[in-house]
């Protein structure tokens, strides 16, 4: 199954992970047909692949009094 970045149904509805989670076993995706679990994997590839910034703030506690 080729990765196409976004899977869009013929009615232009974009699949989301939640949609897939609740989907039945097989869904028609445009001209393609694939299982929901495969589609979940493809979506994971798409959704987790952007760099993100994380800021950590902490307070130094002097436990020696």
């Amino acid at each position: 199954m080729a990765f196409v970045g976004r899977w869009i149904m013929s009615n232009n509805e974009i699949f989301t992970p939640e949609y897939i989670k609740n989907a039945s076993d097989t869904k028609s995706v445009g001209s393609k047909e694939t299982s929901a679990s495969d589609l979940q994997i493809e979506l994971d590839k798409y959704s987790t692949s952007k760099p993100r910034r994380v800021v950590i703030r902490a307070r130094i506690i002097n436990d020696k009094g």
Binding site: G5, Y46, V54
Partner: protein, 187 residues
Amino acid sequence: MIKVKTVKSLRICQGDIFKNIDFVEYIVEKKGNIEVSKIVFPYVVVLTQDCELQQDYNHRKTFKRGKEFQNKMLLSVLVAPIYNEEHVLLGEHLNELGITSSPFTESGTAKDYLENNEIPRYHYLDFPEEIPLAPSIIDFKHYFSVNVEYLRKLKKANFICKVSELYREDISQRFANYLSRIGLPNK
């Protein structure tokens, strides 16, 4: 399509692809409060020359035994981020960092240039089916360094695959050419 190896060696190798690598932007301490800002890159590829990585690995072993000088040990490893091609084409690959890039045109010509490695800044990677990575782009402009020990400790959990020798040499040479380019004035 490139060729890759999924067997991990004990040491860091040129062409290794890792997931979830931190790039520390800054660490500040003020009045007992510490703030650390980092960027988590989903995927990076190792660019440091393989012979240097091999020497570093060998010397770290002797360092532990305390027998020799360690002048061939590295302080850091050079890596470059790998972005999802689809995101790059849309100019959205850095939008979670608040950076919008110019999209590639939809005519297909720019995409062809990108996928044929005709743009010096970028390197296209199409992975075999068994590797869980979408078609991707290395951005040579965004290279950064990572601590050697930090990366080595992540190898077990975060290693994805290693780009095979011929393909990694291609990456290495294109990166070197990109870094050594000479900017000439427009007029």
